[in-house]
């Protein structure tokens, strides 16, 4: 019984932890989760420690929000749609509010193009987001881009439903 109780507690903790995560799981190897850790117990902490903990939690939430929304592209295009611009505006606001965060922008393509051209197109897609964020006032030194071409599809499948989800930029924020 005691064992079961312990197991239940562990499961509860896991559920709480998972609840805080985005439903969108990164398909690429660049998914560094550098969010600040939050301790379960608050007993014996000084006001500064509590404040640091609060800030770390805010930063963790910002990282999560920045990573949550991807932006999508048309075939063989790196043009930002109105919706993408609005999403990038939100990310720019979060980055400005959290100056300790840096951002990796990943450009991805669907499988229809050829591998090498897709690697170049992925760069153009990542750079489109990079340039827009810089335009919105995010320091370029906090931004890095990488293209993965068609190597890490978000959705498996050879149909437009899958392709449209794979022509994308992903955003991986981390604390410096």
């Amino acid at each position: 019984m005691r064992k079961l109780g312990l197991l239940g507690l562990v499961m509860l903790m896991l559920l709480v932890a998972a609840g805080g995560c985005s439903k969108k799981v990164s398909s690429t190897p660049g998914g560094d989760s550098a969010a600040g850790s939050s301790s379960g117990s608050q007993g014996g902490l000084t006001a500064e420690q509590l404040e640091a903990q609060r800030l770390a939690e805010l930063q963790r939430q910002a990282i999560e929000k920045i990573g949550a929304d991807k932006i999508y592209f048309a075939f063989d295009s790196n043009e930002l749609s109105q919706e993408s611009r609005a999403i990038l505006q939100e990310k720019a606001d979060l980055l400005k509010a959290n100056p300790a965060l840096s951002l990796l922008i990943e450009g991805h393509c669907d499988e229809r193009g050829t591998e090498e051209y897709n690697l170049a197109l992925g760069e153009r897609r990542a750079r489109a987001a990079y340039e827009f964020l810089v335009l919105l006032g995010v320091e370029s030194s906090r931004l890095q881009i990488i293209s993965y071409g068609e190597e890490y599809p978000a959705v498996q499948g050879s149909n437009e439903a899958a392709w449209s989800k794979n022509r994308r930029d992903e955003f991986k924020a981390s604390a410096n």
Binding site: G113, E115, I145, I146, Y148
Partner: protein, 439 residues
């Protein structure tokens, strides 16, 4: 050195100079119309009539026969005859010209007959004499003898003989002296492999944590360059064939696309250090040297002819990806792909006269050939599936490419004439990005 280690050619039996005489069979593989030659590979015989092939271990005679047969199957100008095609039985009666019953092979419309004669070799597999005769005249086209120390040397004996046979008939046997580098998927990683152009002697070259892309050989066949996609950045990798050492370099910019070697031996690659992928030549220390093509658009995928004066590449400067040719002496740039909206992956023939590339047709890619002199474009492959990443053989006759025609991506070979593609068997798993180099 390797040749010495592997096995020695014990005797050059007969080299018939007259094989090159005007009245002897020759096949023009480069011309517009390619003739077909009927080839019969006879069953192996013991060299001494009193002995038996059973004294040769590892079933080597039959193994060699099958490999010669399989090798010749890659050559579209050969129509392979079987035993059933020979009225009066397939046995040639002997392995040298004076004993061969050429008449029945003439009736079977065979043009070339290959014979093999084996004798035992103490401490080794055996010694074999291979001959190819022109059936109509009875002339010896190729005659070679090989000492076989171990069964692993059989594929190389087959390749060497077929190289000589192809050379005697067409003037070039490099197909059997060349190799392919390729990319194989292994779970979430992709690694570089190499094999002979017939898929023999497959070797794993890399074991890296990431995605290896776009292998390309140096023109002397000694170095292999490729891009590695890692967790947060791309790296340039150069592998040395002799030392098997791998150099890994970071380069300026974020994105490294489609490296290649110039004929002079420098690495040429697309870098985005000025905001979009442009083509640069690297110095021997991998610092960025000469700009070869700079444009506001995507410029990637350079490939050079043997002279190094012609460079083909892909650019999106007209909105869609198209193939362009740059004359590096004059600096002039000319569009090569005239049809379609998505043309990528160009490879220029070593003599600089023809360019192959992949064109998107109905949502899938097919291989096209552009003739630079006439400006004409011709479709070489017709699917099913997608055909990508064409690469010329060093002799400028074959074109290897990656295709999904049988499901997962595999390497196939066709010719500049668009002959029926043949699978190059390189083992299980998705295989792509063939790069042709010398052996």
């Amino acid at each position: 050195m390797k040749k010495k280690l592997l096995f020695c050619v014990v005797a050059l039996l007969w080299w018939i100079a007259s094989a090159h005489a005007a009245n002897v069979m020759s096949i023009d593989i480069y011309g517009p119309g390619q003739s077909k030659v009927n080839l019969f590979v006879a069953s192996p015989l013991p060299k001494d009539a009193g002995t038996s092939l059973a004294t040769i271990p590892n079933n080597a005679p039959e193994d060699l026969n099958q490999r010669i047969h399989a090798n010749c199957g890659f050559l579209p100008f050969f129509a392979m005859l079987t035993a059933r095609d020979i009225v009066g039985g397939p046995s040639p009666g002997g392995y040298v010209g004076q004993n061969i019953d050429f008449h029945k092979f003439q009736l079977a419309r065979a043009d070339i007959i290959v014979t093999a004669a084996w004798s035992p070799r103490p401490g080794g597999v055996g010694e074999v004499e291979l001959r190819a005769y022109e059936v109509y005249t009875g002339r010896l086209v190729v005659g070679k003898g090989y000492g076989v120390a171990n069964p692993q040397q059989i594929p190389e004996v087959a390749a060497r003989f077929c190289a000589d046979l192809m050379e005697a008939l067409t003037g070039n046997g490099d197909f059997f002296r060349s190799n392919l580098a390729m990319v194989k998927r292994e779970g979430t990683r992709k690694q570089i492999y190499m094999s002979t152009a017939q898929g023999q002697n497959i070797q794993k070259i890399t074991n890296l944590d990431g995605i290896c892309m776009s292998p390309a050989w140096s023109h002397d066949g000694q170095r292999l360059v490729f891009v590695l996609l890692e967790k947060r950045f791309h790296s340039l990798c150069v592998w040395d064939r002799q030392s098997r050492a791998l150099q890994k370099k970071r380069l300026p910019g974020n994105t490294l696309v489609a490296p290649t070697f110039s004929p002079q031996g420098s690495v040429v690659i697309s870098l985005d250090m000025r905001g979009n992928p442009d083509i640069y030549e690297l110095r021997s220390d991998f610092s960025v040297g000469r700009v070869l093509e700079e444009n506001w658009a995507i410029d990637i995928g350079p490939d050079f002819d043997r002279s190094g004066q012609k460079m083909v590449f892909v650019s999106s400067r007209l909105g869609n990806p198209h193939v362009f040719l740059k004359n590096l002496s004059s600096g002039s740039v000319q569009r090569i792909s005239l049809t379609g909206k998505y043309n990528t992956g160009p490879s220029i023939s070593p003599d600089g006269t023809q360019v192959v590339f992949a064109q998107m047709v109905g949502g899938q890619h097919k291989i096209f050939l552009a003739d630079l002199a006439s400006g004409r474009e011709r479709q070489l492959t017709f699917g099913p599936g997608s055909d990508e990443d064409p690469t010329w053989s060093p002799d400028g006759y074959f074109v290897a490419f990656a295709s999904t025609r049988s499901g997962g991506s595999q390497i196939y070979v066709t010719t500049k004439h668009g002959d029926e593609p043949i699978l190059i068997p390189t083992g299980a798993g998705e295989t792509s990005s063939p790069a042709w180099g010398k052996l």
